[in-house]
Amino acid sequence: MKMTAMLLAAAFCSLNVSAAVGGYPVVLIHGLQPDNLKSKPNAAQVKVNGQAYWQEYWASRADLRIDWPSQERIRGKIASDYIWPQLKKLSADGTCARGCIFVNHSTGDLITRYIIDNQALWLKNAGLTPLNIVATFDFSGAGGGSELADLAVNVATGGGLIDAALKFAVSLWLGETPSAANVGVLHDLRVNTARQLAPQPQSKIPRLRFVGGASDYLGATSPFLPGDDDGVVAPHSSCGASQAASFESCSASVDLDGKLASQSAGVRNFMPYHYPMLMSDSYSHNATIGQARKGLVTAARSQVNYLDQRSLSFNTYQENRGWWVFSNKYQVVTGSDRFSMTDLVFRAAN
């Protein structure tokens, strides 16, 4: 009870006014909150949940949050009752007048894209000044949808023939087996629907992608996600690939674990202005925004041009063995042996 009261107070009090990334105010947009599908929180509880979602790291580093309930649809009440009031506030307060950074996680990536495509016209039509969004930081982005959402909708509305392993995976992800009455934003997260929602904003806002490749569900969800997934979304989504296909990395020359090698299943074409920055096979979907360090992180773009395949055949002389052997090389982001992925990003920007 005491904790709830504290969270409620924190949710309604103003956020850290000195928060900034690269000198710009920060706006947070969270991802899917599966328990919402059943609990159907009201507006006050949505704010409490939003504060709790970012509590571990970003809450104290942001100026404003756009909180939304997962039982609703993006183009419905999420837009009209939750996004719109905050967009008007951001404009009226001038928070983004000189520029601001949107930091999002998971489905927040899809909502951010919807905002980028619509905010200028909506605000202009309302007699308000459009927001100047300088960049977005997209952690475990679900802008390309999740195959799990398609399957969860079918588990919820289907029947007795659905594969038991799939039902188990969906129940692990959502905390319970969904029913037809509580699907909500999962409709928007289906791959087709997500990729058709504001698919190509004209604004050239750089979308910086931070991608994980571990699973919180002991790999139970992975058979239903193409490529090297993070337990909830596939790389085609988190990397920002232009195509929904099976990918093992966001790069053509760096594997998700940092190994420098030609990636036949690496993403080569991206959605406009989407730039994968960091990848790690140690971070799961939710761990990418956490305080806890999970392992080494690699850069999706390499300083060295490894497209020349000869340079990937590194030879190393091993004294103890007395001959030359092939050596694998791993690209590692400096500091990732000490800091979490999200901490690396914030530290680099400040």
């Binding site: 409709h187 420098l260 694998n328």
Partner: protein, 361 residues
């Protein structure tokens, strides 16, 4: 030593040699901290990292890259994007999403016993008066009593329900257009198998067009742009955005063009522009080709006409075109001036942000 013992000894020796060769070395995550860390000054020393000296020379090495270097690479890539104006996006054959923006992505739905079904559709967004054509494909399972249902996704209202027959393992439903279909719809297939009822579903959209592309007028040269005036019959006034792909006469993708304008009802014109940069690029490519008959002949296709959402309470509406592509005729890019596009102040600010991150300041 008899022959059997000798062979055994050789095998043991080979096994020992193989084991030594394949003995695992430290995984990359257990390497000591990397050297030459450009970011080190910005962070506190790591007191937790074990100072372990490996007993053997590693067969994996770490190459450090700082966050600043990563931002620097993104900044460079972003700077390249600013070399072309907002209204033009160069296209290649690899840009599958931009070349087929309305494609439907099929997904398998796993069933018990290794069986699966999938729903297929020719496109994601259908436009009146075309029928909705969808298919149910089953793998390793016999289906019976297959029905297709069409529902309004937002209200759940049932719009169509009819039986579907099988043909070569595929259940194809062709649903003629109805005027009340507008917006997101659910396609649901219901069937029986192994004594159980099952339904599977997916989402599509249906659009009652609010504007129609009727023609493309003659091309105009304006400074560095080839201007394409597109004639549109507007039924519902609003803020419109038109995207279309510019192709060579041979069908080679050249650029995606975007134009926006406030359009009143009636016959209106919305201009698309192709900057000389992209026209020149293809002209150079094609001039190198020996069998190039029409070097400056273009096609306009893949239309995406949107009446943009004017407020959070009103959805985006869509238009259509009387024909899927228009021939644009001949146009010589040499008549265009060579001025470079000017990035907007906001885009320059975005580039400055990335460069600031790259400099670590």
């Amino acid at each position: 030593m008899n022959q059997k013992s000798w062979l055994l000894a050789v095998l043991v020796a080979l096994l020992a040699l193989t084991s030594w060769w394949l003995w695992p070395v430290d995984p990359p995550t257990q390497r000591p901290s990397v050297a030459n860390q450009p970011m080190a000054a910005a962070v506190t020393p790591n007191t937790e990292a074990p100072a372990v000296t490996p007993s053997v020379q590693p067969t994996s090495e770490q190459l450090p890259q700082s966050m600043q270097q990563s931002f620097s690479l993104v900044a460079a890539a972003y700077a390249d994007e600013l070399l072309v104006p907002d209204y033009v996006r160069p296209l290649t054959a690899a840009d599958s999403q931009l070349l087929a923006p309305n494609q439907f992505i099929t997904q398998q739905i796993p069933l018990e016993g290794g069986a699966s079904v999938s729903i297929q559709a020719d496109k994601y967004r259908f436009s009146a008066p075309e029928p909705v054509v969808v298919r149910l494909v089953a793998q390793r399972i016999e289906l019976s009593q297959v029905q297709v249902l069409l529902k309004n996704e937002l209200s759940g209202e049932l719009l169509v329900s009819e039986a579907v027959a099988e043909n070569a393992g595929v259940y194809t439903a062709t649903l003629p257009s109805e005027k009340e279909w507008d917006g997101p719809l659910i396609i649901e297939f219901q069937f029986s198998s192994q004594g159980q009822q099952q339904s599977v579903q997916t989402g599509i959209e249906y659009s009652q067009p609010v504007a129609t592309i009727t023609a493309v007028k003659s091309l105009v040269a304006r400074q560095s742009d080839m201007v394409i005036p597109v004639q549109i019959k507007v039924e519902l006034a609003g803020s419109y955005r038109l995207r279309a792909n510019l192709l060579t006469a041979a069908g080679q993708p050249l650029a995606q063009l975007t134009g926006s304008a406030e359009l009143a009802t009636g016959s209106q014109t919305l201009e698309l522009k192709a900057h000389k940069i992209v026209l020149q690029q293809i002209a150079e490519t094609e001039s190198a080709s020996e069998d190039n008959a029409q070097p400056n002949h273009y096609l306009l296709t893949t239309f995406q006409l949107e009446r943009r959402s004017p407020s959070p309470f009103e959805p985006t509406r869509y238009g259509d075109s009387v024909q899927p592509e228009f021939e644009l005729g001949d146009f010589d890019p040499a008549q265009l001036t060579d001025s470079l596009p000017e990035p907007s102040a906001e885009d320059l600010q975005r580039l400055e942000f990335l460069q600031k991150m790259a400099s670590g300041s």
